[in-house]
Symmetry: C2
Subunit: 305 residues, 2 copies
C-alpha cells in the first residue's frame, strides 16, 4: 500500500430533480466541482448522500456512475453499511471491483433496536476485511445507535490489519481519537473525523489526520487540515475561526441541505430537492446560508456560472 | 370492500440454506404449511421475515414468489416500509399489482435517529394511501423508534379512509387499542396486535379483532381469537393459558428463530439458519422449545414428515 490517505474526503451529495428522481448529469457535475476544489478524495453513498433514502438499485447505479466519472482522479471511499453481513460483503466486493479505494461501514444496525453484540460486530468487519483487498474504514456515528467502545475499536484495529481507518463522529470525538491512538496507534492509518468539521480543530489537536466534511466548502476547510498537519497550528486556528460560523450554521441548522442549496445557487445542480420525509430548508436559514457563502466566495457558489 | 379482515395473520418466515441463500422451495413449503393450518391470512416481508437482512432484489423476488404461490388461497399482507416516501409508494404499488390484499408499513425511520415529524408521518401514509386501492395497515412497533401517539393514529384513521388497520405492538398495547378505538373506532376496520401473542388475551379484551403471531403455532392460537370474538371469553382464557408457556418461550427466549427451528425439525424447511449478525438458537433453548412443540403436537413439527 502507498502512504496512508489523509486530508479532506468530503461526502458526495446525491442530487435529485424536483420530482425526486436521480439527476445523473448533476451527479457528474457535483463530482467535478469537488475535484476542482482540490479534495484529497471523496466519499460516496454516505449519510450526507441520503443513502437511507435510496433503493439498492439506485445506490448501485450511483456507485457505478461516481466511480466511473471520478476515474481515479482522486481516491473514492464507498459506503457499504448493511445490517446483513452477507449483503455488506457483497457491497464491499462490488465497490472494490468498480474501483473504490476504500470502503466505509457503520457497525451493523437496523432501526432503533437491532444491533449486534461485540462478537457480531467484529465478525462483520472480519468478513468484510477478508473479502476484499482495499482498506476498510469504520464509521462510528450516532445514527447506527451502536456504541463502539475504544477497547473494541482497538481490538479490531489490531486483529484486522486492513481495517486501518476510523471515522469518529460521536460526542467527544477528540477524546475518543486520542484514546484510540493511545491504545492502538501503530495499527491505525487514518484517524478521521466528520460532522461537517464542527470539532475539527480539537480533533486535529488529538491526532486526526483526515476529515470528512460535506461538499459545501472543502477548498476552505482543507487548508485548516494541511496547515495543522504541517505543524502550523496557529494558522490552522485562525483559518478555523474564519470558517466556524458557516460550519456552525451547516451543522446545527441545515444538515445535508446546505451543500445542495449552495450548489443549486452556484449552477452545479438544477434542484436542491431532498427526498421526503426530509424537509426543504426554511427560507430564512437559506438566506443566511447564501449570504455567508457569498461572503466566503465559495467555489460551489460560482462553479457553474 | 368485503367484510373487514379478522383472525390470525401470522408472519411468514424467510428460509435460507445453511450458506445464507434464499430457499425458494422451502419458502413455498412454509406457505403451504401455514395455509394448511387454517390461517385467516399471512403477512410477508415483516420483521419476523428478517426483512432487515434482505436486499431489495431479494424482497422483490420473495414478494413475487409468495403472492404467486399463495394464489389468493388466503389474503396476503405485504410489508412495504421504507424511510423514503417515494420508495414506500413504489413498494406498495408493486405489492398491489402482484395481488397483495393489504400493505403494512411502519412510520418512516432509519437507524437510531432518523424519523419524520408528525406531518411527515401523515404525509407518507397519505402518499401511500392515495397511490393504491387496497387497505393500509400501520405497524406501531418499537423497532422503528417512532412514537405514534393515539391522537395521531386517530387523526390518520379519520383523514385517510383506506388506512383502517392498526397493528399495535408497543408496551401497553391493550390500553392503546382501547384508547384508539374510543377515539376513532368508527374509522378502524382492524385493531390488531402482534408480538407472538404475548398480550393476546388482554388485547382481545380491549377490542382487538386480529392478531399477527409468528408461524409457529397458528392452528393453536387461532381458536383463542375465534372463541373470544364469538363471545366465549372463558374458553379463550383457558386456551390461552394452555399456549402461554410456548408463547412466553418464543417471545422472550427465541424470537424469530422459534418457527424456523420447529419447521426444520418438522421437515418443512431444510435449514433453520438466520442471517448474521443474528445468532443461532442456543442448544438448551432449542431443546426446551422442541419438547414443548412435541407436547402440543404442533402441525409445523410433523407437516413435512
Amino acid at each position: 500500500m502507498s502512504a496512508p490517505y489523509s486530508g479532506i474526503f468530503p461526502i458526495v451529495p446525491t442530487p435529485f430533480d424536483d420530482a425526486g428522481a436521480l439527476d445523473h448529469d448533476g451527479q457528474r457535475r457535483v463530482l467535478d466541482c469537488m475535484v476542482d476544489q482540490g479534495v484529497d478524495g471523496v466519499c460516496i453513498l454516505a449519510n450526507y448522500s441520503e443513502q437511507f433514502l435510496l433503493s439498492d438499485a439506485e445506490r448501485e447505479m450511483l456507485q457505478t456512475l461516481c466511480l466511473g466519472h471520478v476515474a481515479s482522479r482522486v481516491p473514492v471511499i464507498a459506503t457499504c453499511s448493511h445490517f446483513s453481513t452477507r449483503i455488506a460483503v457483497e457491497r464491499c466486493r462490488s465497490a472494490e471491483a468498480e474501483g473504490a479505494a476504500m470502503v466505509m461501514l457503520m457497525p451493523p444496525y437496523h432501526g432503533a433496536a437491532l444491533k449486534a453484540d461485540e462478537e457480531g460486530i467484529v465478525a462483520q468487519f472480519r468478513a468484510v476485511a477478508e473479502a476484499i483487498d482495499i482498506p476498510v474504514m469504520i464509521q462510528d456515528a450516532p445514527l447506527s445507535g451502536v456504541t463502539l467502545p475504544v477497547p473494541l475499536l482497538a481490538r479490531i484495529a489490531r486483529e484486522l490489519p486492513t481495517v486501518g481507518y476510523f471515522k469518529i463522529e460521536t460526542p467527544g470525538t477528540a477524546d475518543k481519537l486520542r484514546a484510540l491512538l493511545a491504545a492502538a496507534g501503530e495499527h491505525i492509518d487514518g484517524p478521521f473525523d466528520g460532522e461537517e468539521g464542527i470539532t475539527l480543530l480539537a480533533d486535529l489537536d488529538a491526532g486526526a489526520t483526515g476529515t470528512m466534511t460535506s461538499a459545501l466548502a472543502p477548498e476552505r476547510i482543507r487548508p485548516i487540515v494541511t496547515s495543522h498537519l504541517a505543524g502550523s497550528r496557529e494558522e490552522a486556528e485562525a483559518l478555523y475561526a474564519g470558517m466556524l460560523p458557516l460550519i456552525n450554521l451547516e451543522n446545527r441548522q441545515c444538515g445535508l441541505r446546505a451543500t445542495k442549496t449552495v450548489m443549486k445557487e452556484g449552477g452545479v445542480i438544477r434542484s436542491d430537492a431532498v427526498r421526503h420525509p426530509l424537509a426543504p430548508l426554511p427560507a430564512p436559514t437559506r438566506e443566511t446560508l447564501l449570504r455567508m457563502a457569498r461572503d466566503l466566495d465559495l467555489v460551489a457558489l460560482r462553479w457553474g456560472k
